[in-house]
Structures are given as C-alpha cells and as structure tokens.
C-alpha cells in the first residue's frame, strides 16, 4: 500500500495545536481571548498615537454551571482596519502588520484569529466585527474556513456613521469565568499599570465595572522601524535580502512606463529600441533600462519580451536562458552591446558586497563593512549575485559572530520610561517608597532590548514578601512565573547585603522591551534565560535594592533621631521633678541643657 501524502493549511495546523498559542481549556482560553483582543487594540492605538480607551466586556449567555458560553467583546478607539482587509486580518492566521523590526505587543499574526477560531470550534457561532473607519461603519459576521485558512463572510452591512474610528470585536466562546476571573482581573490591572496613558474599563459577567483611568496624556515615543542588525541575521533572511536586490520585473507591470519614457511602439525592432534608449539613457528609470537592455541583448521586440519568462542569466558564461510562449526552453549567448550589456550584468550580479552591506544593515558604514569583509576574507567588490550557497552560509555565520559591530539601534523599541513606570506604580500601589530605572539599551543575538525595573515598598502594600510583576513589550505575563528569568535573577541577588528581607512588603516590576522577546512559547508567558538580559536585570535590581536600602536606613535614622529627641525631652523633665521632690529642694534643677547634650551624645555613639 502506498502512503498518501497530504498538506495542511496554517490554520489547520494551529487548530490542531491550539495549546501552543495558549488556548488549552475553557479557563485559559477565556483569559487568552481577552488578552489577544486587548493587546491588538493597544497596538493599534499606539501605532497612530491615539490615547487608548478600551472597553472590555464579558457576559454569560446562560445561567448555570461553568464552563458555559460567554460573549467577550473588546472595543477600542483605535484606527481600526480598512474594510477590505478586515476579513483577512482577522480570519487568516499568520496574516498581520507586525512582522517588522519594531516593538509591538503582537508578533505572529495569530492572536485574534486564534481567539475567533477557538470560539467557533467550541460554540459554532460567528464572530461579530464592528468597525468605524473613514466615517463609515461596517458590520461583519464571519466564520473561518479552517481547512483553507480563509475567512467566510456571512453578512456585511455598511452604514454612514459619524463615530470616530474604532474596532469592536465580539467573540462567543466556551469559557470558565469562575476559574479565570482572578487571572483576568489581574491581567486588566497589570495592563493598566504598564499602560498608564490608557483608560481601561472591564465590565464583568455580574455587571461590576472595574475602571482604570489614565494618569498621563503622554504616549511613549513610538518605535521606528529599522533595518536588521547584522548579528541578528540568519541564512534565509540574508538570501531574501540578496534576492530583493536582484529581482527582475515583469514587462506587463511596466509596459506603459516603457512606451512613455522611450516614446516607442511595442512592435519596433531591437535596433530601433537601442537607438531610442541611447538618446536619453541617463534619464531613464531602472525598470525601463532593464527591459530595454533585455530586448536589445536578446534581439527581440517589446511584444515578444512580454511573452517570454527569463529563467536565469549567467554572468560567467554570458548566457541567458528563457522559456518561450510555446514552452520551449532556449539558451542564447548575450550580445555585448553597450551600455545595455554592462547594465544588465550589474543588475544580475547585483551590488558589490561592500555597498550591499552598507545599504541593508543598521550600524554598518563603509569602514565597518570593509573591516568585516577583510575579517571574513571576501573581496569587497565581489558582486552579491555571484555568491554561492556555501558563501552565503559562511557570510551569515561570520555576521553573527563578528564582535566589532556597534550594538543594535534601540529606536525600534518603545519602553515606558522610568518616569512613567514610577508614576504608575505610585498611583496603583500607593507605596512608601518607589523607584524605577531604565537600563541602557543592549542586545542579544543582534536583537536590541531595553530592561526597565521598578521597586515599591511599604505604604499601602501590606502583603509580606516579594510580589513580582513581569512585563514584556508592555504585556503582563501571568503564567509560569517560576520559570521566568526575572525570578531567577531575584533569587540570585544577595538581598541581605541591602538589609532587605523576604518578609518585607515589596513589589518588583520588570519590563523587557525587544523586537524579539525571547519567549519560551507562542503563548507569550515567560522569558528564556539570556545572559545579556540577565545581566541588565541584575544590575538594575541591584541599583534599586541599594536605593531602597538607603531609603530604609534614612528612615530608620530619622526614626531614631526623633525617638532620641523624644526620650530626652520626655524623661529628663520627669527626672528633674522627682529628684526635686526627693531632695526636698525649692526649685527644679537646671537640667534643660542636658536635653541637647543627650541628642548629640547619642548621635556620636552611632
């Protein structure tokens, strides 16, 4: 019997492996749904620098025991999505706008779709999407075709609306609120903590409204999309960058441009085209130069060019291979007609390695590129089109290893800032002491990251012991705390040195921002150990521990001083009075100076 091969779609894959994305059971899935939707809303608002107003609601569809059907809806005042993209953005996995090198909460193009998918497989109900965009309001009901990774639109309504923009997604799913509520509330509270510029309202199944008001109108400066850093490259990414440079365009895309720029007809001979092109060569666009060169060197007219597909051009043998309209495969020798021959070759061979590196990577200038190429023993004038597979691999490995590149640009990151972290902790915990710090940007494997840490102590924090709040790219991480790098670091610090004991009421907040947070799972719950991140966390925490230590000793000092002042001024007058009576004296002894002496005397003792 022969085995039957089959292929599954990405959505089918995630359907079968939904626990990879955190949708394991009704409890966890309810929490994940809220989380994915809220994070999308915040991402969207951040991107357009809109102060977010987020409204979360969870309502049960029936009375009775959990698990049961709930409607989760999250509504924002963000830019929303243009109508034509809504079905795909929300109905297709691995489809999104965040596969870029800048910090965002979302990374995989998966979250919202997974939530919708989970709702559909547990309740068979469609998702409802209401989008206000461009003074219109669109309402979709939609289901997913899981097998083919595509949305199925059940209904679409379009209305004129003077609502400002915003997206409201409503998913019906099987959930267990009684078990999930603690985590969900915690999630909302922590999101408010790390997003102090947002208004967040949570309307729970019992109609309790929990509200977090923004405490600042300042949105952290937005991340800027950047080129990749050489140390963060892999073979596939490098190959793609090289191919992008080398792409040959198809004639149909540029036909009109060619006719216009050359003022030519499509049936004119190659020779005539050559004439026309030579006249204004320097003024022609890249596309037109390329098409004309091909036509001239293959000696065919523009109509014919439209009908062939170039397979490859080999600069070492000066041969071009192409497939004709009637599917014949031809290899011909290229004529060396200038300037067309040189131009085609430069496109095919591509840039020199030197200029390729400078153009495509951050932190690489000419002198850095030159030094690096010397180090890997590549000729700086070598054309990227002539790199063999082995050479591409060698180049990649060298880029990852080379230690002289400057650290990656952190402009693609958007941390909260020590100031706002501190303000937010202050307003949420009302502590006696709070301080936050932002560590200088650093990088691991070519990905930039910034660590922010806050420590709060005492005041209205009553619970004894260290409570840790973890965040990554402004997302709270609530599960698997024990496995997280932050705990590891906390355990490794010698708190005794700072006279801090584990029964003190202490809150520690850690926030790691990166274009690539090293999560251990797609569920985004805990962060893997990276020595570079560990180093920043440790130093930041030590700094804050020292600050807390100073605060505590200052406080103790002040308490001692006032106690001291108290003791002498409380007891010396009594001593004077009693001794006067005992001695049967007529006036009090002159003891007053002793009160001052006493304070000084004790200070010296310390």
């Amino acid at each position: 019997m022969s085995k039957a091969f089959s292929e599954i779609s990405p959505s089918e894959f995630f359907y079968r492996n939904r626990d990879l994305a955190g949708f394991t059971n009704p409890t966890r899935s309810l929490y994940m749904t809220v989380r994915e939707l809220v994070e999308n809303s915040l991402d969207a608002c951040d991107a357009e620098r809109i102060l977010p107003d987020i409204y979360i609601s969870i309502k049960a569809l029936s009375e009775g025991q959990d698990p049961k059907h709930y409607v989760v809806s999250v509504k924002d005042n963000g830019p929303s999505i243009a109508a034509e993209y809504i079905p795909k953005a929300l109905g297709k996995v691995l489809y999104g706008t965040k596969f870029t090198l800048k910090q965002a909460r979302g990374m995989f193009g998966l979250g919202a779709t997974m939530a919708i998918l989970y709702g559909q497989i547990t309740t068979n109900k469609p998702v409802k999407i209401v989008s206000a965009y461009d003074s219109k309001s669109y309402e979709y009901t939609m289901m997913l075709d899981i097998q083919h990774n595509r949305p199925v639109i059940l209904s679409k309504n379009e209305k004129v609306s003077n609502n400002s923009s915003g997206l409201d997604i409503e998913i019906t799913l099987e959930g267990d609120y009684s078990k999930a509520q603690q985590k969900i509330k915690e999630y909302v509270a922590q999101t408010a903590l790390i997003t102090p510029y947002a208004n967040i309202t949570f309307d729970d199944p019992f109609n309790n409204k929990i509200e977090y008001k923004r405490i600042t109108d300042e949105i952290p400066s937005p991340p800027i999309e950047v080129q990749p850093h050489p140390a963060g490259i892999d073979v596939e990414t490098l190959r793609r960058l090289i191919n992008k440079e080398l792409t040959l365009i198809s004639f149909s895309d540029v036909r009109d441009k060619v006719k216009k720029e050359l003022n030519a007809r499509t049936n004119q001979s190659a020779d005539t085209l050559a004439e026309l092109a030579r006249e204004k060569w320097d003024r022609l666009s890249r596309d037109v130069k390329l098409i004309t060169s091909l036509a001239v060197l293959l000696s065919i007219n523009l109509d014919e060019i439209d009908k062939i597909r170039i397979d490859k051009i080999n600069p070492n043998t000066d041969e071009a291979s192409y497939i004709t309209f009637d599917e014949r495969y031809l290899t011909v020798k290229l004529q060396k007609i200038e300037p067309f021959y040189k131009y085609l070759l430069s496109i095919v061979e591509g840039d020199t390695l030197l200029s390729f590196l400078v153009k495509n990577f951050q932190r690489v200038g000419e002198s850095t590129a030159r030094k690096f190429l010397e180090y890997v023993k590549f000729d700086e004038d070598k054309r990227i089109g002539t790199l063999t597979n082995d050479e591409i691999v060698r180049l990649t490995e060298a880029m990852q290893k080379y230690s002289e590149f400057l650290p990656p640009d952190a402009n693609c990151l958007s941390p909260l800032s020590a100031k706002f972290l501190e303000a937010s902790m202050e307003s949420m915990f009302k502590p006696e002491f709070v301080e936050a710090i932002q560590r200088p940007a650093s990088a691991y494997s070519g990905f930039p990251f910034i660590v922010e840490i806050g420590v709060a102590y005492g005041g209205e924090i009553k619970e004894e012991g260290i409570k840790l709040y973890r965040f990554a790219n402004r997302i709270p991480l609530l599960y698997d705390e024990g496995s997280d790098i932050s705990w590891k670091v906390i355990k490794e610090i010698d708190w005794k040195r700072y006279k801090i004991s584990f029964d003190m009421p202490l809150i520690i907040v850690t926030h790691i921002c990166s274009t690539k947070v090293p999560y251990k799972t797609v569920g985004k719950e805990y962060i893997a150990d990276r020595p570079e991140i560990e180093y920043e966390l440790k130093n930041g925490l030590r700094f804050l521990a020292r600050k807390l230590f100073l605060h505590l000793s200052k406080k103790k000092h002040a308490e001692m001083a006032s106690k001291r002042a108290n003791i002498y001024s409380r007891y010396l007058p009594l001593l004077a009075q009693f001794s006067k009576e005992l001695a049967n004296a007529s006036r009090l002894p002159k003891y007053e100076k002793l009160i001052r002496y006493g304070k000084r005397y004790e200070e010296e003792q310390e």
Binding site: L575, A576, F578, S579, K580, E581, L582, N584, Y591
Partner: protein, 371 residues
C-alpha cells in the same frame, strides 16, 4: 502574766522604726545626688549590684544565696537606660512618700500609681522589676519601703503585738483572739512584738492543716505559734519568721507536703532563694524541716500519688543545688527519686483526722530536737 512569758528586747522593738528611718535617709540622699548632678548639667549615674545569674553565688558561711561583686552602671545619658533610670527615681520618690505618710501599697498598686505621674510601665512585671532594682540599690526589702505582694499567709497563737501603722499606733492585739488566724499583711509585718508564751513556731504549707492545728489546740499543746505559709511563703512571711526567731528566740519548724516542692519550701525558709539574693534579712538558717520526708511516707504507710516527669526532673535539679549538699536533704531527694511517689499532708487523714497531731507531729519534733 503566765510564767515563762517572753518579751521582745526593747532594742529590737525599735527595729521597725529604725529601719524605716534608714530607708528614708537612703532615698533622700539618692534624690539629692541626682538633683545636684542635674543642676550641674551632669547626667546622673547609678550603680546597682548585678542580679544576673552569673553574679548570684552561694555563700556557705551565710548559708544563703548572695550577690557577687558585679555592678551594673546605669547612666541617664544613655538613651536605652534613661527610661528605666527615670522609673527607678520615680519609684524612690513614690515610696519615700509612702513611708512618710505611713501608707502601704501592693505591687499592683505601684503599677497603676505610676500612670498618675506620667510614668509608663509596659506591664506589671516591668514595674516589679524596677522595685527589685530599688531593693538592690539600697539593700532593703520592698516591705521596708511599704510595698507588699497580694499573696498573704496567716499566723495564729499567743503573741501580743503593738501596731505602728498610722491610725493604730500603740494599739495591741493578741494573735490567738481569732481562730481563723491573722493575715500577715503590712500592719502585722510592721508591728512590734510585745510578749508571747510560745516557745516555737510551726510553719505549715497548707490552710487545711493550719485550721486542723488550731482546732486541735496545737498552739497550746506544743506552745507554738502556727504560721500558714500558703505554699512557698511570701517574703513578708519569711521576714516575719526571721523576726520571730531573732527577736523572740523562737525555734522554727517547717511541715510541708511529702514531695520535692515541700522540701524546697523548707529550704527557702532556711536558706533563701536566688530571686532574693540581693537581700539578707529573709532567712532563718537554723529552721528545721520536720516533714513530710520521703522516709516518712514509707514509715507511716501514707497513701501516695505517682511523681510526674516534672517532679523527677526537679529532684535532679535540686540534687545539684549547693544548698542541698547536706546529708538529710540529699538523702531524702534520693529516696524520692527511688520511690517515684509522693504524699500530701492530708494523707494522714487515712488514719483518722488527729493522727497527724496525736502521733506524727510529736514524734517528728522529738527527732528534730535530738539531731
């Protein structure tokens, strides 16, 4: 007057007054020293004999625990001392007033009185502690400055006393006038002894036996004053026993339960306790323990109870105590340990209510006097 009536020596009769005068002197000079220091802008300091365990030593000659030479210096300049320093001076001031006005006060009264003077004691143990400090500082017992504990024991028998407390000065009373006996309180403690026909003092551990002895006319039959120590005797009672012994030359006999605690009651009357090592006026070193010995339990075939773990442990502790190194004390402890059983004084009732007074007491007194 009955023949053989004893009178207290007139020198001793003044003793109470003299002691009070001495106490007042000491308190006043303490006040003057502190007043002068303060007036000269010097932080006053006090030196108090240390009462820490390492400074409590057994004096073989005096046959009691005394304090060694270690001294604790308490300075009012030290933030950690200032509070207790002031408490101590307040107490000196307060008891000076008490003594002058002829009033007394209980330990608990002291604790509450402090509050009227804006002095704060954490709790009564703290004020008790300061009282002991003052005792150590001036080497007088708290009873000498009119502070008494609540616990009271009583006395019965032919002894005429004359009160010295305010309002009763000169009034006399015979302690055989009331069959329930008289409480050994401040007024009795400070009274002068006028005369007695008694030739000895019988200290018993328990109220029940005390009443039995009164009913059975033990005081007449044996010419005895009967004292109920109510367990381990309070210091006022020990002080009274000493005065009866010293001023009236009465022998003191002790009768307690037949167990390790009974034995220890006798020992404390004889040799004092570590807690009062700073005081020397509380022991009757030739008092005699007449029972109930461990050997008596066997000899009189008394009903017994088994000893507890704690009882046995206490036996071993006392075996190592320097006060217990003499013959009889060790021998009886050993026997208790061997028998692992104990008997109460009431156990004699098995053989009739008067067995204890008819047989046991005379036999034991005879043995005691023959030793």
């Amino acid at each position: 007057m009955v023949r053989g009536m004893k009178k207290s020596k007139s020198k001793d009769r003044e003793s109470t007054k003299i002691r009070k005068e001495r106490v007042k002197e000491l308190l006043t000079s303490l006040g003057i020293k502190i007043y002068n220091d303060l007036d000269n802008q010097i932080f006053p300091e006090l030196e108090i004999p240390s009462r820490s365990v390492s400074n409590i030593v057994y004096d073989k000659r005096l046959k009691q625990y005394i304090l060694g030479d270690a001294i604790i210096k308490r300075s009012s300049s030290n933030m950690r001392h200032l509070r207790s320093f002031t408490q101590l001076v307040w107490l000196a001031f307060f008891v000076n007033k008490l003594v002058n006005e002829g009033k007394t006060s209980t330990l608990r009264d002291i604790y509450y009185s402090s509050q009227a003077f804006n002095m704060d004691f954490e709790d009564q143990p703290e004020s008790d502690h300061i009282i002991t400090d003052l005792e150590a500082l001036i080497s007088f017992a708290r009873e000498d400055f009119n502070i008494y504990p609540e616990e009271r024991s009583s006395i019965f028998g032919d002894l005429t006393i004359e009160y010295t407390v305010r309002g009763y000065e000169g009034r006399r009373l015979n302690l055989a006038d009331h069959p329930d006996g008289y409480l050994i309180g401040p007024s009795l403690s400070s009274a002068e002894f006028i005369e007695t026909s008694a030739e000895m003092v019988l200290a018993v551990e328990k109220g029940g036996i005390f009443t039995r002895f009164v009913e059975e006319n033990v005081h007449k039959k044996f010419k005895a004053l009967i004292v109920d120590t109510a367990g381990q005797p309070p210091r006022a009672t020990r002080y009274l026993l000493k005065r009866l012994h010293d001023e009236l030359s009465l022998d003191v006999y002790i009768l307690a339960d037949g167990d390790v605690y009974g034995e220890h009651i006798a020992m404390v009357i004889k040799s004092g306790s570590a807690n009062a090592a700073h005081l020397r006026e509380l022991t009757v070193s030739d008092a005699k323990w007449i029972g109930v010995w461990a050997s008596d339990i066997q000899k009189y075939k008394l009903p017994t109870d088994p000893m507890t773990e704690a009882d046995i442990k206490r036996c071993y502790e006392l075996k190592n105590d320097p006060r217990y190194q003499l013959d009889i004390w060790q021998k009886e402890l050993d026997l208790f340990i061997k028998m692992k059983r104990k008997s109460e004084l009431e156990a004699f009732a098995k053989y009739g209510l008067t067995k204890i007074t008819d047989d046991y007491l005379p036999e034991k007194l005879k043995i005691a006097n023959s030793l």
